[in-house]
């Protein structure tokens, strides 16, 4: 009797996140956690500041994760994670401490404590799931909101008029051992990078583009497709900075025009051709710069 063929699994099979979380349909932030925990495994403790995940993780007395979670104040993920790690080391307990914050908690209000922790090279993995706005409070702009995007505080008549802050570069400037970008459209890539990061000591930073159908005004079923388009258009390049060496994880065979990415999201609906041209130029410049950095070898 031949064994029945099983479905293929290209990511770890074990689940550490339960179904029944109250994230919106097609939520990239929820999916990112599912992937991250698969990659990091059961010896992980999670620190979550105020963000959509404060809700997704489940109300008292429930918890959506099989791992311990510490819910903390908005700007404190890196500081609390530092304290947790210090406490565990005193107790001689081995665990990966995972700080899990949104773009607001990372780029804006939490940037001070994150920068300090990175400068101290605290031993934790920090994942910023970036949905490019304050979603938990109803889609307000953050410094991660891209140029031209609509949010409730950057209305269509006056959309965001400053470019997205380059958080990867800010983190690299701290000379931390590892930083990587990832998206929920590239699960195997994200899992591979996390597994790699798990074996490194010191501060490891992840910048993960996480689809938010609610805030981006994109169809939920395109949860993976939208970030794939972000990578194919070079709007959001996938790369690693491993001990000062830049390496691009995915170079599009044929770079798509940014419109391919913009047009599937209602938040960019109002843009004029001229504005789209401006975005294209900015994306091209940034991409060229990244290609150059990759060629330079070790940068720090």
């Amino acid at each position: 009797m031949s064994e029945k063929k099983k479905m293929r699994a290209t990511i770890p099979e074990e689940e550490y996140m339960f179904p029944g979380t109250v994230d919106c349909q097609g939520c990239g932030a929820a999916y990112a956690m599912r992937l991250a925990l698969k990659a990091l495994g059961p010896k992980t403790m999670v620190v979550i500041p105020a963000c959509c995940w404060s809700i997704i993780a489940g109300p008292f007395p429930t918890s959506a994760l099989k791992m311990p979670i510490y819910h903390t104040a908005f700007e404190t993920a890196a500081a609390v994670a530092s304290g947790v790690k210090a406490g565990l080391s005193i107790r001689e307990k081995e665990a990966t401490v995972l700080a899990w914050a949104g773009d607001g908690g990372t780029f804006d209000i939490g940037v001070q404590s994150l920068s300090a922790a990175a400068e101290r090279n605290e031993d934790f993995i920090y994942v910023c799931y970036d949905n490019e706005a304050y979603m938990n409070t109803g889609i307000q702009r953050s410094s991660a909101t891209p140029w031209g995007a609509w949010t409730t505080t950057t209305p269509r008549k006056h959309p965001k008029d400053r470019p997205k802050k380059n958080m990867m570069e800010i983190m690299a400037a701290h000379r931390i051992p590892y930083a990587a970008s990832a998206t929920v459209g590239h699960p195997e890539d994200f899992v591979r990078k996390l597994k790699k990061a798990r074996e490194i000591r010191g501060t490891r930073f992840f910048h993960v583009l996480a689809t938010c159908p609610t805030g981006w005004r994109s169809p939920p079923e395109l949860m993976l497709e939208v970030p794939r388009l972000a990578v194919e258009t070079c709007v959001f390049p996938l790369y690693e900075i491993d001990n000062g060496v830049y390496s691009i994880s995915k170079k599009p065979k044929e770079k798509l025009p940014v419109t391919e990415y913009l047009k599937v999201q209602g938040r960019f609906r109002h843009l004029t051709d001229q504005q789209i041209q401006y975005i294209q130029e900015h994306v091209d410049e940034t991409w060229e710069l990244l290609l150059k950095k990759e060629k330079l070898g070790r940068l720090f």
């Binding site: 059961p42 010896k43 403790m45 620190v47 404060s54 809700i55 993780a57 489940g58 109300p59 008292f60 007395p61 429930t62 918890s63 994760l65 099989k66 791992m67 311990p68 979670i69 510490y70 819910h71 903390t72 104040a73 700007e75 404190t76 890196a78 500081a79 609390v80 994670a81 530092s82 304290g83 947790v84 790690k85 210090a86 406490g87 565990l88 080391s89 005193i90 107790r91 307990k93 665990a95 001070q112 404590s113 920068s115 300090a116 400068e119 101290r120």
Partner: protein, 384 residues
């Protein structure tokens, strides 16, 4: 064998944290607290203290890191003052509401602007409603002793505790401090072992969103813990006294047995006021002093008890609640409302921003209370 060192109040705090075997310290420097941090860094660097010192970038992160460490199941300590304490405010709530028995020294310093580095109590009293225990110390020895008393009591009731010392008057003044044998201290203060901690074998979510169905009950538990803390602190103080021979109490009474009037005061000014009491007693006044050591939880019963035995109470506040009166003054009056015997209570705001409080000031306040209108808001020594 115990040792005696002549040290500042700040160093008394550092030694207190060392001998309490703090396991994680996260702190940020601010005048006049800096020496606490500096000495602790040395203790950690030379291995005298087996602790992790997290050199954070702000007081907000200091408290956040202490909370993380406490959640991970270890004894956490920090120290700050004035603006640092104010910056921590959000995390002070977090520590108490999360039931983390972090202990902190706060050097009482006036709030700016204008910049002032000198003492008053507005910084710590502004944190009254955060759920922290507050201990006001009178001497360097008391700072040292109260560190371990606070750890022991706080860990029993799962609440954080703040011990308070006056800027410069204690923080930078040298006094002899007796430090008992570490073995005896270890017996008095066993290792921290909280009922819940972040544990891979018992994975729980701490602080998850809680609907109105249970939030209020969780707050009620904190109120209960504070009520219990009043008893616990007394028990711990008693045990400390029996072991080490020094006893402070939650409301310390000085020459109150036959007193007809009593001064109520907190902090190091109590020492000066005790001298003033001695002088006034020589002059024939039957006056005593009650020093508020524990401000939260508030020793209501003891306040009512002393009130029932005197004809007049004089409260000296090194603080003010703008738009109302001195904070201790208000607290004491609130305490007395349900008391059978309510003597007249006079309140004086004095010594703000480090304005000297000498014996003459105390006797002057007592004399003014003889004649002044009880409805008046009295600012002692203010130049008009």
């Amino acid at each position: 064998m115990s040792t005696v060192k002549v040290i500042t109040g700040n160093h008394a705090a550092s030694f207190g944290a060392r001998d309490s075997r703090a396991e994680v310290i996260a702190a940020y420097p601010i005048t006049p607290q800096t020496q606490i941090v500096e000495l602790l860094s040395e203790f950690c660097a030379d291995g005298t203290l087996k602790a992790k010192f997290i050199k954070v970038e702000s007081e907000h992160s200091a408290m956040a890191a202490c909370i993380g460490a406490s959640a991970a199941g270890v004894r956490a300590y920090t120290a700050t003052s004035a603006h640092g304490l104010a910056l921590m405010h959000e995390m002070l709530h977090w520590a108490a509401n999360g039931r983390h028995p972090v202990v902190m020294a706060n050097v009482n310093r006036a709030m700016g602007p204008p910049w002032s580095i000198w003492t008053d109590q507005n910084d710590s009293l502004a944190q009254r409603d955060t759920g922290w225990l507050q201990f006001y110390c009178e001497s360097n020895q008391e700072v040292y002793d109260t560190t371990m008393i606070a750890f022991k009591a706080c860990e029993q009731v799962l609440l954080p505790g703040m011990l308070v010392l006056d800027a410069f008057i204690l923080s930078h003044t040298y006094e002899p401090v007796e430090m008992p044998d570490q073995e005896l201290i270890d017996e008095f203060l066993p290792p921290f072992d909280p009922p819940y901690k972040m544990d891979l074998d018992d994975a729980r979510a701490f602080g998850a969103l809680t609907t109105p169905e249970w939030y209020m009950e969780l707050r009620y538990l904190i109120q209960e813990a504070h009520e219990k803390a009043l008893v616990t602190v007394r028990e711990v103080e008693k045990e400390f006294g029996e072991t080490f021979g020094r006893y402070y109490g939650t409301l310390e009474l000085y020459r109150c047995d036959d007193a007809e009037e009593v001064i109520l005061i907190a902090g190091s000014t109590a020492s000066t006021a005790k001298d003033a009491v001695d002088i006034m007693r020589k002059g024939g006044r039957k006056i005593g002093l009650a020093r508020i050591k524990l401000f939260r939880p508030f020793p209501n019963e003891e306040i009512r008890d002393i009130a029932s035995r005197v004809n007049k109470m004089i409260v000296i506040d090194r603080n003010v609640s703008f738009g109302n009166q001195g904070i201790f003054f208000n607290e004491i009056k609130a305490s007395l409302y349900s008391a059978k015997n309510r003597p007249p209570v006079y309140g004086f705001v004095a010594g703000l921003g480090g304005r000297d409080m000498k014996i003459d000031d105390i006797t002057g306040i007592v004399e003014q209370a003889d004649t002044c209108d009880i409805e008046e808001i009295l600012w002692w020594g203010v130049k008009l």
